[in-house]
Subunit: 357 residues, 2 copies
Amino acid sequence: MSDPLQPGAVIGILGGGQLGRMLSMAAARLGFATHIFEPGANPPAGQVADRVTTAAYDNTDALAAFAKSVDVVTYEFENIPTAALDVLEAHRPIHPGREALRISQDRLTEKTFLRQLGLQTAAFSDVYDLASLAAAIAETGTPAILKTRRLGYDGKGQARLSGPQDASRALEEMAGAPALLEGFVDFSHEVSVIAARGLTGEVACFDPGENVHRDGILHTTTVPARLSSAQRTDAVLLAANILNALDYVGVLGVELFVTPQGLVVNEIAPRVHNSGHWTQNGCAVDQFEQHIRAIAGWPLGNGQRHADVVMENLIGADMDRVPDLARDPDTALHLYGKAQIKPGRKMGHINRIQRTG
Amino acid sequence: MSDPLQPGAVIGILGGGQLGRMLSMAAARLGFATHIFEPGANPPAGQVADRVTTAAYDNTDALAAFAKSVDVVTYEFENIPTAALDVLEAHRPIHPGREALRISQDRLTEKTFLRQLGLQTAAFSDVYDLASLAAAIAETGTPAILKTRRLGYDGKGQARLSGPQDASRALEEMAGAPALLEGFVDFSHEVSVIAARGLTGEVACFDPGENVHRDGILHTTTVPARLSSAQRTDAVLLAANILNALDYVGVLGVELFVTPQGLVVNEIAPRVHNSGHWTQNGCAVDQFEQHIRAIAGWPLGNGQRHADVVMENLIGADMDRVPDLARDPDTALHLYGKAQIKPGRKMGHINRIQRTG
């Protein structure tokens, strides 16, 4: 698939949440149709996609039929079963590719990969039982965080350890899953870089955003982030370093801790990322269109920012604020069409445009 | 329907072309689902809508079922048969309302309405046969344009008269349809105002854009338009005048000729308008979202422009330029997902953002 996709081509998206929804809308802007594959009924992305397949990731027939109906496959989340990827890839290219998925699906593999690239990460040790956890604590020190190696997101699958006495409780929370002990990083703030790499290897980065979390969920991203010029350059170069090492195609999110010793990579996400939502109202080509352009073999947008933006997630009962938010002329609303409001559920986000002068 | 619609409500849209498509995407951003009613198969809007009904406008059962499935009905074009409106309105509110449709469906009614508001229009006379055409020519003078009273758009249903000798040829082109002779207006340029009025009567206008046509089809809209401060005020006030007179709800397009004697209204369109597409990349709330906000009873965006923009339509073979256009960092692409490229067919548009400084 080295030729660019023509308008009218079909983009297959695994996962029908808000990221798949916004990818669908960006694809439509470029004249592409989308086909969503999602196990859950009535996914948010289904409302704006041309087709939806409702099937499980172990339904081989449904996966094959889905793949054959599209021109390229992409995804909104990284935890796609390997067997499903095998079926899909027999029929159509998958972007970002298997290597990016293999690495980002496992925290241990990911951190090892980042270290091999010469990047800084938190101290980490492999944990599979109480003895290995005790050894990890001795090496890493406390406080520390025990995390499952796979399938964690938004603070789930994590347990904090203030000291060795928390070891057995923390290990129980892993419920037998292989885990990783991560040392604390003494950082002043967290930023993220949303970067993209095209089919022909060109790289484009959006300006880094500064992230604030609440209850383990992203609360706001502010652009520009507080970074020195040197830090800004470092952030962009390390993102490009990661993209090139993975021969990556698509948008990648890189979360970074800012420390006196430089930038420490927290984690990478091989997909569009919540901390890149600000681009919808700050850039001519947003992260969703950038991702679609990359996987379609189109030229990338350059990521230039035309406005400062503060993105804020609308979680659960934040939806009560929508009538007031709709009244603010500098606030752009992005709601996800989710039928049920639940505590902790991402229902939408706003981008507040910061007027200069 | 005085309560604002809640996210999750369903917007019914008559017509599945590019305007319906972009209305659907704007509705989705606010968390609404959309249902398209369109006689033609595989409409562009269907690719991004939650539901599509494929049925003719005289299919009473389909119209009633459609109306019952939505919370409010709107439309992307003004030539909806009156009988269809009767069926729909028995079940759900229609915005913009019947009066706006009645007036804009007939050039004679529209021009009479505008004159009654004290606004300037081209000279016009009712034409139904050769004798009335001769009288009209005597009154209006030539050159002049004969236009069908109903169903004309993009230069269709029009015939130019250089002198009385063109009368019978021009009348033949009307194919028996009631017509209107319009005198030429000596104008320097054409501008349009995209204005909106909410359910509670508030009015918001976007900055006027300057339109250039080619072969009777809009070619570019440039914002800001060349207007004096006084002309800009006049343009906004007359748009508000029209909206209030119609007790209008939604977005309205007003095309104006700029003349030494002031602004002359060319025509009004009770819907989102091609000359308002620039707002997608120039305003926090674009014309499509503005229309959805209005008909949903939400507060309007204020229309403030954050960038100068030149919109250009991509017609037919202009699609060959897409690979080059995709490379321009200041160009935002909007393609309509139409399967077939035809001469004169609107395939998409671009918004070129004009960087200042």
